[in-house]
Symmetry: C2
Subunit: 159 residues, 2 copies
């Protein structure tokens, strides 16, 4: 069954659509470095956004680590917006640039529940070349400056 | 295959877990009233939150209407937190109370992308009795005061 056509507003983001699987590495001054498996999904329903979920798990025993979910929008030509919920009690808006199949975003505003972890700012660079997606995420949290936190490489799966 | 056990922190929210389907009605001073179908899913991965997605569609032609996704957490005894992303470009934190199987939450903070719709505040009451979930959502947006926007009734599906 054919789904709806991609909304014209998000055609520039169409290269993201699909399921992506791979691995990444995490580091931060307050924790031990770790390796993880990751699944990312982008999809659409014919409206002017892409829906997005991400989850990671420990490579040693498969226990779930981070996850996040939200929506990607275009904010005008070459401008991208991301609205994101984190299970740590953080909701944020990121915006940035789209250049071909490279994205570069940073937190523009962040809100937290009373019990949330103190995340100040995220920056993420994403690049897609063919069926390979690579990214780096930088984070300022719990009193630390903005430094590299996660890097990963994912392969596009069967859609 | 047995999944992980529900994290002790979110046992008080366990009554929400499952897939819920039903219908609702929407009204707002700036739009025509409308009826919609709705699916809501709550699930867990063994960590101290419930993951949550919701989507609605028009009853006449099935076209997608609203959706939202995020995470539910406990904020202490009888306190509930909701972290939510909306595809309209809005991210928000809600908090409120849990009394048995009744929830009452309101926006505590909200952030928006540059192109987002102007939503000021949401309030939601949710009540579960057995396999029936009813809710009312009140909204202050686009210059309107806080007034009833959505009411719905959902039935718990096969999990």
């Amino acid at each position: 069954m054919a789904g709806p056509e991609l909304h014209p507003d998000v055609v520039p983001l169409g290269f993201l659509i699909g399921s992506w699987m791979g691995e990444g590495k995490g580091e931060y001054p307050t924790i031990e470095s770790f390796a993880y498996g990751e699944e990312v999904r982008f999809w659409h329903v014919g409206k002017p956004f892409l829906a997005y979920t991400q989850r990671t798990w420990a490579l040693d025993d498969g226990r779930p680590l981070h996850s996040e979910s939200g929506y990607w929008r275009m904010g005008g030509p070459g401008r991208v917006e991301l609205v994101l919920a984190h299970p740590t009690g953080v909701a944020e808006v990121e915006d940035g640039t789209l250049d071909g199949t490279s994205l570069s975003l940073a937190t523009s505003s962040v809100v937290r529940t009373p019990t949330a972890k103190l995340v100040e700012r995220l920056e993420r660079d994403i690049r897609v070349e063919g069926d390979v997606l690579t990214y780096e995420l930088r984070m300022s949290a719990v009193g630390q400056p903005l430094i590299s936190h996660l890097t990963g490489e994912l392969q596009r799966g069967a859609s």
